[in-house]
């Protein structure tokens, strides 16, 4: 039982990290219907930018804020330069553009920061707990705390603010939203900024959690998150978050608890195909 609970806690942490990375992708997909694979590159840049600022200022807060700003800018840059002009083409055209972006940014990171894995020696100011003999380490509680905080903040932004309302309206009917006075291109850019800023947080968090930052750290999330947004229901942000958490727990339990040696990266896609057969609109997706 204790083992099970420990595994659950681990799974939740992995799921929370997946959720942070998937979030931006789901936001972007919801509004532009683009498979934004380069999101994973922004996440990588986020980790590097955070590390660079942290090494020069020794302030984690500054690092997080600076990295978020930088990534927001990068996200908008990709949106304006690559996606927006390619919107009228079939979806694989922006997708190839996106993958080329991912590759170019990965290589750029390597050229700037070097090929070696860098460590991210920051302390996350979170306490550790012991509940009923189960230790929740400070890194684990940091992952919970930060992701819960980010998700909460995002929930507040999307449901309680005028901006969030405009974002949701734009993703549901862009033309009508703009006929209500919403500058939809600006809203698209804002969506990219928010998604990219969250990716920056995810990058820094993962960098600290595993204490490593390296050029290809986005390679696995880049494609796994695609499966997650399908499982969640294309375009549904809560669905993507739910799918991410479920996948984290499922992976952990299957591998660690049940001891089934499964190819972990394929699991997401196997789950995806199962979901598509059972509920083609995804967990929380509505009919379109």
């Amino acid at each position: 039982m204790q083992l099970f609970l420990e595994q659950m806690l681990n799974g939740l942490a992995i799921g929370a990290i997946y959720a942070l990375i998937t979030l931006g992708l789901a936001l972007v997909y919801g509004i532009l219907r683009i498979l934004h694979v380069a999101h994973a590159a922004i996440y990588t840049v986020g980790a590097y930018a955070g590390l660079a600022i942290f090494s020069s200022t020794h302030s984690l807060a500054l690092a997080v804020i600076g990295s978020m700003l930088f990534c927001a800018f990068l996200g908008v840059l990709i949106e304006r330069f690559v996606y927006y002009p390619l919107l009228k083409f079939p979806p694989y055209v922006p997708l190839i553009g996106s993958i080329a972006c991912l590759l170019a940014i990965e290589e750029l990171c390597r050229m700037v920061a070097g090929p070696y894995i860098l460590s991210f020696p920051a302390e996350l100011p979170f306490p550790s707990f012991t509940i009923g003999g189960i230790v929740i380490s400070s890194t684990l509680s940091a992952v919970y705390g930060i992701s819960a905080g980010v998700l909460l903040l995002l929930w507040i932004i999307t449901t309680k603010t005028e901006l969030g309302l405009a974002m949701r309206a734009t993703s549901q009917d862009m033309a009508i939203a703009s006929s209500m006075g919403i500058n939809s291109h600006w809203i698209i850019s804002v969506t990219f900024m928010i998604g990219s800023a969250v990716a920056a947080i995810a990058g820094i968090l993962v960098g600290i959690y595993y204490n490593q930052v390296y050029p290809t750290m986005g390679a696995v999330p880049a494609y796994k998150t695609l499966a997650l947004i399908v499982v969640g229901g294309l375009g549904s942000v809560p669905g993507a978050v739910l799918a991410a958490v479920l996948l984290g727990v499922a992976e952990t339990l299957l591998i660690g608890y049940a001891g089934i040696p499964l190819p972990r990266d394929a699991l997401a896609f196997i789950a995806m195909i199962a979901v598509l057969l059972w509920r083609p609109q995804g967990l929380l997706g509505g009919r379109r």
Partner: protein, 294 residues
């Protein structure tokens, strides 16, 4: 010709064959497939297993390889009947990841160690390597191009074009979407299987990582950049994208960045492909011809 050039040429020829296969699916029938490398891999693995464990020769294994990849292509093409656009795109990515995992985790396929000791192709008693093997690949490429050409001239091909352009209109004209989409999948994946078989017997050992998603993206980029749905587009795309990394070779550490950046620029400014509608090449060509359509 040096063996270096021959090797590059052989890879380009093999990739062109695979790209032609993808062109049948994406360019002719209008179905998105982002997992084409999976079929490239299935072809390579089935040929490798048939010739090593199965003890067959390349030539007797080849029809089986084409059958196997075509059949699996048929099965995995089934989602294209129900799923549209992005769902289909991501599903095909998923298929690629799952197929690679199967190669990697099922001991029958050699697992992480891959399959080695694949025999060379023997033709007229000669063990083919170097230039003769390149010519073999080029001959197969010619055959694939011929098959593509014949396909575009066949009623099946026309049916696929019609489906690509407008599925409801096509089906109201007696074109069964199921039958012809699957036909395109079978033909396209069988071509990928042929490419895979050639690859296996050229490299003489294979491992799952050769057939991952990045390879699929590479093949799709070849088709898109060359000009989707054109006969020569995939070949041109394979040529350009196959040679670019070699052209950039002197730049060592910087070459992959330049390659990616160039790919990005090409897709950004030439999304219809180098041979596609309104491409620079076409515009220049029509200007040279003195055409004044505009």
């Amino acid at each position: 010709m040096s063996d270096y050039t021959i090797t590059i040429g052989t890879f380009i020829a093999i990739q062109a064959i695979v790209a032609c296969g993808l062109n049948v699916i994406v360019g002719y029938a209008g179905q998105i497939s982002l997992g084409h490398a999976a079929f490239f891999g299935i072809g390579a693995y089935s040929s490798a297993l048939l010739t090593t464990a199965g003890g067959l020769s390349f030539w007797s294994a080849l029809p089986l390889v084409l059958f196997i990849t075509g059949f699996i292509g048929l099965v995995l093409g089934l989602p294209s009947l129900r799923l549209k656009e992005d769902f289909l795109a991501i599903t095909t990515i998923g298929i690629n990841f799952i197929v690679v995992s199967v190669f990697l985790y099922v001991p029958f396929f050699g697992g992480a160690l891959g399959i080695g000791g694949i025999p060379r192709v023997i033709l007229f008693g000669e063990r083919l390597r170097g230039t003769p093997f390149l010519f073999l690949c080029l001959a197969f490429l010619a055959a694939v191009q011929l098959a593509s050409w014949l396909f575009t001239r066949s009623w099946s091909g026309l049916a696929c074009f019609a489906l690509r352009e407008d599925e409801s209109a096509a089906s109201s004209m007696g074109v069964s979407p199921v039958r012809f989409k699957l036909a395109a999948f079978i033909l396209g994946t069988a071509m990928a299987g042929l490419g895979g078989a050639l690859y296996a017997h050229f490299m003489r050992f294979i491992s799952a990582t050769d057939f991952g998603f990045p390879m699929s993206v590479m093949i799709l980029s070849m088709v898109v950049l060359g000009g989707m749905g054109t006969l020569w587009g995939p070949v041109l795309g394979a040529l350009v994208l196959g040679m670019l990394p070699e052209v950039f070779r002197p730049l060592t550490e910087y070459r992959m960045f330049l390659y990616a950046a160039l790919l990005l620029l090409m897709i950004r400014f030439q999304p219809g492909g180098l041979l596609g509608e309104s491409s620079f090449a076409r515009q220049i060509f029509s200007r040279l011809k003195g055409g004044n359509q505009e």
